[in-house]
Symmetry: none
């Protein structure tokens, strides 16, 4: 079945917001065996929204839309869809009560226009949204080509992803005919470029039987392996293809399935009953933030120190003034003392440290912007390494945090942490 | 004049690559007074590409396309445009020579299909590309609505940006009639819902003369005020509308223009020559990460402590064991001791602290998930407050970090920090 994606919002057509929703939905549709024939974006004008829906339904049997479900006057999707379908808007009592309850729980007066979010085109199926006040909905209508299906979700990425996973994908899977099944398996990689990855796995599988899709979501690249056909032998075919890819990827694959680096690090620490503390200079709290994004991380994250100034490196982490003077704050020597210091101060099993120059200022000929030193101190001793990273401030922080987390993963697995991230471009 | 944007490529419709070109072009068009009425993305199929061009020309006088100009068989834009225009493809000798020279200079044999990049629809104006082998081109054709204009550029962002700046924008500026211009001004708000904001400003300006656009990028909501018309009085009309909105927003507006909360906090700290250190429990490093995302933040961020465990709250921040025992780790009393402790340990002018329950576990009847205490200790003394936030772990962390940053902003401005965020219970 052919699908299309519609993104609605002035913030998109004016270039103020980068649309990541359409990209995410396209990837999910591909993984579930739907071909995306077109993606479209329009601003908050009823006639443009209606034209877009009609245009996309001429090319696809399923149109998935985001945006325009908010409570304000420029949120026009619901009434536009109702007009296109020629049906009235109906208020859903359960949704209205939920919205009222949401404001009551906050002890706030509900603005009257919020009840707009309880209106749906007659006949639509409501997609309950546990993450916000605006539910999504789906609808269908007949055409000479057969039934056409529309889905509408809020434009807030978090809410959209929740609705995709919980309400939309299960429905899409049921919609697809039974003799046309798909199975896929995902590998998460780090430390290798997309083109090098492509070369590495190019002839590992038969391209007419197995589809490989790369997706670069910096700083990790995922590789999805998909097989399609009769349900009978799909699992066996997928297992064979995955085994061939797994062998090629080797240590560049840090996890399989839907797993982040911080999730994998947390899983390994929790499984081993180990604890960690971090001492961050150039990453400025990002490593601790990522570690503590994982639910249950208080079981293994003791805490950390953001040591931006040299004084704090000395007072909180016990870095030697002589080491700072001799090697400079950005050095493997200082990184090791930071890692050892935070480990000692907290009693953690692993002490992890970053120090570097995120830029744009602060670089020198000897230590240009992007110079980053990582160190870990743990049960098997101390390791450190100096990297030359690239890109802007945000990019250097993110890449340094990824390498640092990969060091923990490798250390817990008993590998040499400094083997991390060849970053072949 | 109305404009539309077309992005071409299978890598976009399969979700493999995030399309940043359309966002960039939309922003550039807006800045130059063109309204983008639609954006569309299609894969590398001639019929889909032609349908997209035709669809967009129905809605806009200018269509700007990217992608499909490469040398390979799936690069189909040029031949599709020629077919749509009903004109033959003509080889451009100068371009062909340049492509041959490019390969000669590298000492490589030129694959024959590269000469495809020297073909253009008859009558097209070539847009020379100094950054790659594929030039762009533009074309025009008559319609009952007047002349319609098309632009085609390579999909490589670097080459597209170069052609936009050097070839496309100067031509667009010449095309625009002198009596049609746009001006806009943006307000950044926090602590108020989008719908309440809408009600607050609803009748502040004449909606037929001033356009208001909200953008919720959690946890902040921006409001853009736009006026359109003859260039002569635009600045005065914008200033009048902005003044009316500014008065309504009051203290909910934390900054004007393109400014984040951490950017505004940094600006205020730097301007006042003040320093800050943070003690984070539930935000787990996110406040420090956001503060240090700002270039130059090492001038005012001394550092911080991520105090996840009670032991670190005591050892690194000097929180009293008795306070922990009496009030629990999530309390305004502990938050104040954390803020005071990090200020004392670092010598910062401001000590900022967060402690709370981000969830999903760890809540109780008395202190449910989302309970967050914020404290600041500074030149004008200590303040603290307990908030009841909501949502999942990521949301609680993000919202708590935003409130904490707003506390710094208010403290530096000499306001009562605990007046921040009506979002509290």
């Amino acid at each position: 079945m052919r699908a299309a994606i519609l993104s609605t919002g002035d913030e998109l057509t004016t270039g103020r917001t980068l649309d990541t929703n359409a990209n995410y939905i396209a990837d999910q549709l591909l993984a579930n065996g739907f071909e995306v024939v077109a993606m479209m974006t329009v601003g908050d004008y009823p006639e443009r929204i209606e034209t877009a829906w009609r245009t996309l339904f001429e090319q696809a049997e399923i149109v998935i839309g985001t945006g325009g479900l908010g409570p304000t006057a420029d949120d026009l999707t619901t009434e536009t869809v109702a007009r296109m379908l020629g049906v009235p808007l109906i208020s859903d009592q359960a949704t209205a009560n939920k919205i009222r309850g949401f404001f009551e729980a906050m002890g706030r007066q509900m603005p009257a226009n919020n009840l707009k979010q309880a209106l749906f085109p007659e006949g639509a199926t409501i997609l309950e949204n546990d993450m916000g006040t605006a539910p999504g909905f789906r609808f269908q209508f007949p055409s000479p080509r057969g039934a056409l299906h529309g889905v509408v979700m809020p434009g807030v990425p978090r809410e959209m992803k929740h609705l995709m996973a919980d309400r939309v994908l299960p429905w899409l899977q049921a919609l697809r005919s039974a003799d046309e099944a798909w199975r896929s398996h995902t590998f998460q990689t780090f430390g290798i470029s997309e083109s090098a990855l492509d070369e590495m796995v190019a002839d590992a599988v038969d391209p007419t039987a197995v589809r490989l899709a790369f997706r670069a979501a910096f700083p990790q690249i995922s590789l999805r392996v998909t097989v399609q056909g009769h349900p009978g032998d799909l699992e066996a075919r997928l297992a064979g293809a995955a085994a061939a890819i797994r062998e090629r990827l080797g240590e560049y694959c840090y996890a399989e399935g839907d797993m982040t680096m911080e999730g994998e690090v947390g899983r390994l620490l929790a499984a081993g009953g180990a604890t960690i503390a971090v001492a961050e200079s150039c990453t400025g709290g990002l490593v601790a933030h990522r570690l503590t994004n994982i639910a249950g991380s208080s079981a293994y994250v003791l805490g950390g120190v953001v040591a931006y100034s040299n004084e704090i490196k000395q007072s909180a982490l016990g870095v030697d003034a002589a080491t700072l003077a001799r090697h400079g704050a950005v050095s493997t020597e200082v990184a090791e003392e930071m890692a050892r210091g935070v480990r000692r101060a907290t009693g953690a099993d692993y002490g992890l440290a970053t120090t570097g120059i995120a830029g744009p200022g602060g670089g020198s000929a000897e230590k240009p912007v992007g110079t980053v030193c990582i160190a870990i101190d743990g049960p098997s001793g101390a390791h450190s390494h100096r990297y030359q990273l690239w890109g802007n401030r945000e990019w250097v922080k993110l890449l340094a945090s990824q390498i640092a987390l990969d060091w923990v993963r490798r250390a817990v697995l008993g590998q040499d942490p400094s083997a991390s991230a060849v970053l072949r471009r």
